[in-house]
């Protein structure tokens, strides 16, 4: 490490942040705080779905300082991605896709706020396999960060040591920063650009957590007369305990399985009715996820 130059390292980090800054934008959320967004491509910006309120007008402040009205093209609660289309700004900078990251790699999260450039550096804390979000989204990789990024960085880009885009910064439980990976955003953006929403699987049943004696599952408390659950012969009071042989612990578990890719699938539910278990095959319906 004799040739290591701390000052040069510091400058390199600052340069990467400055180079990527033109792709960033910011807006004020309905909670009157600042969140970040960044240019994806073709004039479309992405941000954190949680920061955007449906039906509210969004004013994006671009890196140039210019403020433009942006249309909410759609939101995907299953991946946390919202897609914005500002009027103009089509020629904003675009960030290149990063290669795979490993734990310990340096990361830089950037944003802007009130005309100030923001940057914070840290490292990748954890890289894990694909996982499924609460609303059924498939997230390509688990990437947790060890960075001290505050709320203004939410929805902003996370860069690697080459200045390439790893993904979007979001906050998990206990405000731990994590990255929604590039590939996941790419899929969400494609769907939102095409349809304006993502789909979710639909049963047409109101569910209640069942945790009584040995029974864990989701009890059917109400039924849509025209829904798939009713068509398949589910009854009020039935307890759904499994999905294609895998245990279902309750509504939370079931909802997670009813993600965008579940629509149209035929699933065999294990159902407890009056103490007896039976199998019921059901073709999952489709609704917009909101």
């Amino acid at each position: 490490m004799s040739d290591f130059n701390l000052s040069a390292f510091s400058e390199a980090i600052a340069d990467l942040a400055a180079t990527a800054a033109p792709a960033t934008a910011s807006f004020v959320t309905h909670h009157h705080r600042t969140a970040s967004a960044f240019h994806w491509r073709d004039g479309y910006f992405v941000t954190a779905e949680e920061a955007v309120e449906t039906g509210e007008e969004i004013e994006l402040t671009l890196a140039s300082g210019e403020t433009v009205k942006a249309e909410l093209i759609g939101r995907d609660p299953s991946t946390g991605v919202a897609l914005l289309k500002p009027a103009g700004a089509a020629n904003a900078a675009t960030l290149a896709k990063a290669d795979a990251v490993r734990p310990g790699n340096i990361v830089i999260a950037i944003g802007i706020s009130d005309g100030s450039a923001l940057a914070v550096s840290g490292s990748v804390g954890e890289v894990g396999p694909a996982w499924r979000s609460m609303r059924g989204g498939t997230i390509d990789r688990r990437i947790n960060l060890a960075v001290g990024a505050g709320g203004r960085f939410e929805g902003g880009p996370v860069l690697d040591a080459k200045g390439a885009l790893i993904g979007m910064l979001l906050f998990g439980p206990r405000r731990r920063a994590l990255v929604m990976p590039y590939e996941t955003i790419e899929r969400a953006v494609a769907t939102l650009r095409e349809k304006g929403h993502v789909a979710r699987g639909y049963l047409g049943a109101g569910l209640h957590q069942m945790r009584d004696r040995d029974a864990h599952g989701a009890m059917v408390m109400s039924l849509d007369d025209n829904g798939p659950a009713k068509a398949a012969g589910l009854h009020l009071g039935d307890i759904i305990v499994s999905w294609n042989g895998e245990a279902v612990h309750g509504p939370r578990d079931l909802i997670r399985r009813l993600g965008p890719d579940s629509a149209g699938a035929t699933v065999t539910f294990g159902v407890v009715r009056q103490g007896e278990q039976r199998d019921i095959a059901l073709t999952i319906g489709e609704k917009p996820l909101s």
């Binding site: 609460m134 979001l170 109101g206 945790r211 408390m221 009020l236 917009p288 909101s290």
Partner: protein
């Protein structure tokens, strides 16, 4: 429990055989009205005390269960108790569900079916429990589920109007659309949305919908 989901809670004919429901309610006029409504469901057969029929389930209230009439009912028959108190402790013994005195008939019928099938329905008073929906940490578990709030604890009492607003929220409707569909002002729609978020302990709309789905307030 709150009958806010939709009007269709109990419109499916479930059983091949009618369930015999013993209506043992202190107020005779109420008993009569309740019996008439239960009979109208088709799959429930209400009977009154002293008819000698062995009931599948008993609907009773505090006025009756403590009196001699209550003792005539077999101790093992599942009971749905209409109570003014709505105690927080879980119902014990043959009481399989406790509902408010003023519960809607559809809800009572629903509880009776579940109780007859051997299920216990836990319930709470709702409106006085704002503070413990999610252990104080307001919502925000959108994508992640490392920290499970207990989905069984609270089912907030939404007003009928709030329930309508929630149904539209679940369809992804913005305030403007909610206002138009319900013929109210955008300001009023916003007000209802804000009230729903508070009652559900939700950080935002997406979070509210997710919570409502988990609690049976929105169809999954």
């Amino acid at each position: 429990m709150d009958a806010v989901t939709t009007g269709d809670i109990m419109e499916s004919g479930i059983t091949a055989r009618q369930l015999i429901v013993l209506v043992a309610v202190g107020d005779a006029a109420r008993a009569e009205r309740l019996s008439a409504s239960l009979a109208a469901t088709g799959d429930l057969l209400p009977v009154v005390t002293g008819s000698g029929v062995r009931a599948d389930v008993v609907i009773t209230d505090e006025a009756v269960s403590t009196e001699a009439a209550g003792n005539a009912i077999p101790a093992t028959t599942p009971r749905v108790l209409l109570s003014a108190r709505l105690d927080r402790e879980r119902a014990v013994g043959p009481v399989f569900a406790v509902l408010p005195l003023a519960a809607e008939t559809t809800l009572i019928a629903s509880a009776a079916r579940l109780a007859a099938a051997g299920y216990r329905v836990s319930s709470d008073g709702g409106s006085d429990r704002h503070d413990d929906f999610h252990g104080g940490d307001l919502g925000g578990d959108g994508l992640f589920d490392e920290e499970h709030p207990d989905d069984t604890i609270a089912r907030p009492a939404l007003s009928p109007r709030e329930a309508e607003v929630l149904a539209l929220l679940a369809e992804g409707a913005p305030n403007k659309v909610i206002a138009r569909r319900l013929n109210i002002s955008v300001h009023t729609a916003k007000f209802h949305v804000a009230a729903i978020l508070i009652k559900l302990g939700a950080a935002n709309r997406t979070d509210a919908i997710a919570i409502a789905m988990r609690q049976g307030l929105v169809l999954v």
